[in-house]
């Protein structure tokens, strides 16, 4: 057990050193620059603990996380359906792919403007922005995964005369699991950044709203504390996705 922890720390030595250096530089800088610009580490830690230890404040983080997860779930559903349709009926690619590429070219900020004009309700605006930004990523990633299924394997399974559902469950779904996980990894980070922009538009709760409040109050420790909350969420998501990946893709040869 102790050896395992020791190995884990040893493998992360580089990261620990660079973060340590960054913290030292930050702390030293805080002694030469006004605290409203660069607060010291103690103030930041205090603000962070205030956020995570207060149920009222933690709720804001949960609201943001819920918004991100609901939007990602919806975008994944739409993306998965579109990519599966394109997988079974290749002719649909000619109609769907150009639209997706066009939508991908629209900046997140444009979706923010459109959502303000189109939707009066804040929650609807945030959901719309996130779904519009993430759906093309999911669709294209999964579509690529389906396209990459070897023809040899498809022919092998077809020699047993499967139904469409059996072809999906026995071949397509297991083949695209790596693509699904990659899409989630990319989109969790992307959606978190977009969610901050979306929450600046009239939201009265959430991390974005708290960041906006911190900016208005010139509360630098608060702004950093809320940013750390987001970073923690991202790291936790990546950790969960990494563990899921190790479990689901355990059939792959281990790299030494």
């Amino acid at each position: 057990m102790f050896g395992k922890i020791k190995n884990s720390i040893a493998s992360k030595k580089g990261g620990i050193i660079s973060i340590g250096v960054l913290l030292i530089v930050w702390e030293i800088s805080s002694h030469f620059v006004p605290s409203y610009l660069i607060p010291n580490l103690q103030a930041i830690l205090g603000a962070f603990l205030k956020v995570v230890l207060s149920w009222k404040l933690v709720q804001h983080a949960f609201i943001t996380v819920a918004r991100i997860l609901v939007a990602l779930g919806l975008a994944f559903l739409v993306g998965a359906l579109l990519s599966i349709f394109m997988g079974f009926f290749e002719e649909l690619e000619d109609y769907i792919l150009p639209v997706l590429h066009f939508v991908m070219g629209v900046p997140a900020l444009s979706w923010v403007v459109f959502s303000i004009i189109w939707f009066p309700k804040v929650e609807m605006r945030i959901l719309f922005i996130l779904v519009a930004c993430c759906t093309p990523n999911y669709t294209l990633e999964l579509h690529d995964g389906i396209k990459a299924i070897p023809k040899d394997l498809k022919e092998m399974l077809e020699s047993f005369r499967p139904s469409r559902m059996q072809l999906f469950t026995k071949l397509i779904l297991p083949s695209i699991i790596p693509a699904i996980l990659t899409a989630w990894k990319i989109n969790v980070g992307y959606a978190t950044r977009v969610a901050m922009v979306a929450e600046l538009v009239g939201a009265t709760a959430g991390v974005g709203f708290q960041l906006l409040s911190a900016q208005e109050l010139f509360d630098m420790p608060g702004a950093i504390a809320w940013t750390l909350v987001l970073v923690t969420f991202l790291l936790l998501s990546q950790f969960i996705l990494g563990k899921t990946e190790s479990k689901l893709l355990s059939y792959r040869p281990k790299m030494n």
Binding site: S159, F160, K170, I177
Partner: protein, 255 residues
């Protein structure tokens, strides 16, 4: 023995490889196979043997002509052939996320046999093919020969009436290839299955088949005859030479 189980009549297969370019891979292919016969199809690499294999398997439609297996079209009557045709491919084509047992059992999973029954059948075939102790191994943990054995077990597990093999031993080293060929021959003799083996190895065809069909390019029959019984290695070599001279006569044909 004379009941025709496979009938191939004047089959043509054209692939469109560009808007204004077509390639004729199979042209005027005709032959038939009787119940319980073991037939070897030989021809040069690229002569369309694998296309012929896919047509028989019902994975592709014919452009012209007709194929009948047990009186039905393997492409149009796709579902009818569930568990009736088994295939051993050029490469193992194992699903990398399934272990040996899970790969061998896949054909039966599609016909929804009970899990215990299908695993029992698959285990029996894995063991007959010498894979005892490797049931839970993933494809990457097995050697090329072992993976091909799993591929063979997968084909036998569904107990098909007809077994098709496409260059099933061609990519293996010589020792493994000879070993697997012997096992395969033993199993098809024991089970009495109608078997059609596609190969570019004449010696392999002589050892496995009762009848030899030599294909030219584009894929059509140049020679169709019973393989004689040989009393010496010299006779075998002479026969090989004769088959080689038949194969060598053809030119590449592109329309």
């Amino acid at each position: 023995m004379n009941e025709k189980i496979i009938e191939v009549e004047n089959v043509r297969k054209v692939f469109r490889i560009h808007r204004d370019m077509e390639i004729t891979v199979v042209d005027g292919l005709s032959f038939d196979v009787s119940l319980g016969e073991v037939i070897c199809i030989v021809g040069k690499t690229g002569c369309g043997k694998s296309t012929c294999f896919n047509l028989l398997l019902g994975l592709e439609p014919v452009t012209a002509g007709r194929i009948r297996i047990e009186g039905k079209d393997p492409y149009a009557d796709f579902k009818y052939f569930r568990t009736k045709i088994g295939a051993v491919f050029q490469t193992d084509r194992l699903l990398p996320w399934r272990n040996a047992l899970e790969n061998a059992v896949i054909g039966l999973e599609l016909v929804e046999e009970s899990q215990t029954a299908r695993e029992e059948t698959a285990l029996k075939w894995l063991h007959r093919l010498g894979l005892e102790g490797f049931e839970k191994a993933y494809p990457y943990q097995l050697s090329g020969g072992m993976r091909q054995r799993v591929g063979m077990a997968r084909a036998f597990t569904v107990n098909p009436d007809i077994l098709l093999a496409d260059e099933a031993f061609g990519h293996l080293d010589q020792v493994t290839s000879i070993q697997l060929r012997k096992i395969f021959l033993k199993l098809i003799k024991e089970t009495g299955k109608t078997c059609l083996v596609v190969t570019h190895n004449i010696r392999e065809a002589i050892e496995i088949g009762q009848r030899m069909i030599v294909l030219g390019k584009p894929c059509r029959v140049l020679l169709d005859e019973e393989i004689p019984t040989f009393s010496s290695e010299v006779q075998k070599s002479d026969y090989e030479e004769r088959i080689l001279s038949v194969i060598g006569k053809n030119e590449i044909y592109v329309s």
